[in-house]
């Protein structure tokens, strides 16, 4: 994550693959962020969002063991939380309303992730 400073920021991570989720968590923690989750399912993510007073940004895997993450994305949009998608899907699989949401293609580069989240959040 280099010199990027995500210190004190609450970042939600939604990713169903443990190995990937854990790597993302490690990378974000390394940059000083407080990781919310990671959440492997839509339900788990929804519970975390409901219980978190402050969320500064989020990284969402699109496909969670067969369920699409878009309900979670809608809740975040309503709360005006900036977020990015992490996925192997092309843009055509993403609903029109999320056309402007930035997308990180898997496999994710840790540096790209930090830069993107920093830009999104405005740091």
């Amino acid at each position: 994550m280099g010199d990027l400073d995500l210190k004190g920021l609450n970042i939600l991570v939604v990713e169903d693959e443990y190995l990937i989720a854990d790597d993302v968590k490690t990378a974000l923690s390394g940059a000083g962020a407080v990781v919310l989750g990671p959440a492997p399912t839509v339900d788990a993510a929804t519970r975390i969002i409901a219980g978190a007073p402050v969320i500064d940004g989020a990284l969402l895997d699109i496909n969670l063991a067969g369920d699409m993450v878009f309900d979670v994305a809608d809740v975040l949009t309503a709360r005006q939380v900036p977020f990015a998608f992490a996925t192997g899907y092309d843009r055509a699989s993403i609903p029109e309303r999320f056309a402007s949401v930035p997308r990180l293609e898997k496999p994710i580069k840790a540096a790209e992730l930090g830069t993107l989240l920093g830009t999104l959040i405005g740091r």
Partner: protein, 474 residues
């Protein structure tokens, strides 16, 4: 096929036209014939009358001549007058007879000519009719044998005929489909499009539109591609429209399925690369040397490849069974016989318990790490060791749903670490079992060091046997 279904209206019009000409010719010939016959009759009457007069004149003349000479002069005068008349009459008769002869010959020729023409025309009509009925038969066979629904229309969308397939597919009778009745078989939302396409069909010189047609048998709408072309007269006038509706439903669902599969493949490939990236990072962290790294990463890539093999070899819509995954992984390290027994290994449990597809990869990696550790430090590292893996279904899920319960027990191992001690090796296997499996699918796991070996239990939900294609693994 009803009378409106005769093919080639142009050809028919031409035939009718020629027949009309022939009929006119025949009528005028008959009229001429009658005229000639009348003339002939008149001539015959005249001849008969003249002959009668001649006979009368002769008989009157003879006795007069014999009985008296006094009236001779008068009689001679009368006689010469009569002779003159007779001569004129004979000449007239001769001319009439010649005319009659001429008229008869002409009549005969005209009749023969007419007869020949009628015969030729009859032959031609017979041939054309046979041709037409053959072509009609071909048309009908083609129309009734093709998968498309065929129909005919005049004006704007006014159907005049629908093929038996249309009637069978929609359940409409021929009468119901005629006029604008066919529109009823289309989905209400697609009727405007159908009308719109018809509205511009004449200017476009063709009809094309997509619309769903209700399948009476299935009780649902299927996607159809409908098109029609005008049948034109020699002058270019539109006589009628010949249309087909082609069932696209299977193709469209295959296309959708293909799009899902392509997306799925892309997703899986990307995901696999991400997992490999993660495995690589872990392996780097847990390696003491480059050589150590190479050995470990090689084994893990092979384990991942075995899992991918299982996932790609299974039949579409089915799941990987636990016994298959376990046997594949154990066999990569030790030799097993058909019963699942090796020299220091026994595996035992019911076959065909399906696994959630999203769990297979992590589960496979976890089993690989357990096996690697058993070979390096555990039951398979010492001649006295024994590895026994058993599994069964237990009704411990939500509402008593069955879960898969796996028991991994190593025994006969000396030099076990103290409970709670740092694991030997990278601890990666233990992490996968204690953290990854519960994280990904709510598995309940336990991993512990007992005095004579590792004891590990894994409990996971058993999914429905069939996998829904659209529900993609992530």
């Amino acid at each position: 096929m009803n009378r409106q279904a005769d093919p080639a209206p142009d050809e028919k019009a031409k035939l009718l036209d020629e027949n009309e000409q022939l009929r006119t010719a025949l009528e005028s010939s008959l009229e001429e014939n009658m005229q000639l016959a009348e003339d002939r009759d008149r001539l015959r009457d005249r001849v008969v009358m003249l002959a009668r007069e001649l006979k009368l004149a002769t008989t009157t003349f003879m006795p007069v001549r014999a009985s008296s000479d006094q009236t001779l002069d008068l009689r001679e005068l009368q006689q010469s007058q009569t002779e003159e008349e007779l001569r004129v009459a004979f000449e007239e008769l001769q001319v009439l007879a010649e005319e009659l002869e001429l008229a008869n010959t002409g009549l005969q020729r005209a009749n023969e000519d007419l007869e020949a023409r009628v015969e030729a025309r009859t032959r031609e009509i017979t041939r054309t009719n046979a041709e037409l009925s053959r072509s009609e038969l071909r048309f009908r066979t083609l129309v009734e044998g093709m998968p498309q629904l065929v129909w005919r229309a005049v004006g704007v969308a006014e159907w005049t005929w629908a093929s038996p397939q249309w009637r069978a597919f929609t359940g409409q009778s021929l009468e119901e489909s005629l006029g604008l009745g066919w529109l009823e078989a289309f989905h209400p939302d697609d009727r405007a499009a159908a009308r719109g396409a018809w509205a511009e069909a004449h200017t476009r010189g063709g009809l094309v539109f997509e619309g769903r047609i209700c399948h009476a048998g299935e009780g649902r709408y299927r996607h159809f591609h409908t098109r029609a072309a005008p049948v034109r007269s020699a002058e270019g006038r539109v006589l009628e429209w010949l249309g087909t509706s082609t069932d696209l439903d299977d193709i469209l669902s295959l296309q959708a399925r293909q799009a899902v599969l392509v997306g799925e493949l892309q997703h899986r490939t990307r995901n696999l690369m991400a997992v490999m990236q993660a495995v690589m990072l872990r392996t780097i962290k847990g390696s003491q040397s480059l050589q150590d790294f190479q050995r470990q990463i090689d084994a893990r890539m092979q384990a991942l490849a075995r899992v991918q093999g299982l996932l790609s070899r299974r039949d579409a819509g089915t799941r990987v069974a636990f016994d298959l995954l376990l046997r594949e992984e154990v066999s990569a390290h030790v030799t097993l016989n058909a019963e699942g027994n090796g020299r220091q290994v026994s595996i035992e449990g019911p076959a065909d318990i399906p696994l959630q597809s999203s769990l297979v990869q992590t589960f496979g990696l976890a089993l690989h790490e357990l096996m690697t550790n058993a070979v390096k430090y555990g039951a398979l590292s010492t001649p006295s060791g024994m590895l026994r893996i058993t599994w069964e279904e237990r009704p411990t899920g939500r509402d008593g749903a069955p879960r898969l319960f796996v028991d991994w027990r190593e025994s006969g191992v000396t030099n076990m670490p103290e409970p709670g001690a740092r694991p030997r090796g990278s601890g990666y296997g233990r992490e996968l079992i204690e953290r990854a499996l519960p994280y990904q699918l709510g598995a309940k796991t336990r991993y512990e060091f007992t005095p004579d070996g590792v004891h590990c239990t894994i409990e996971v939900d058993i999914p429905d046997r069939a996998e829904v294609l659209e529900k993609r693994h992530g």
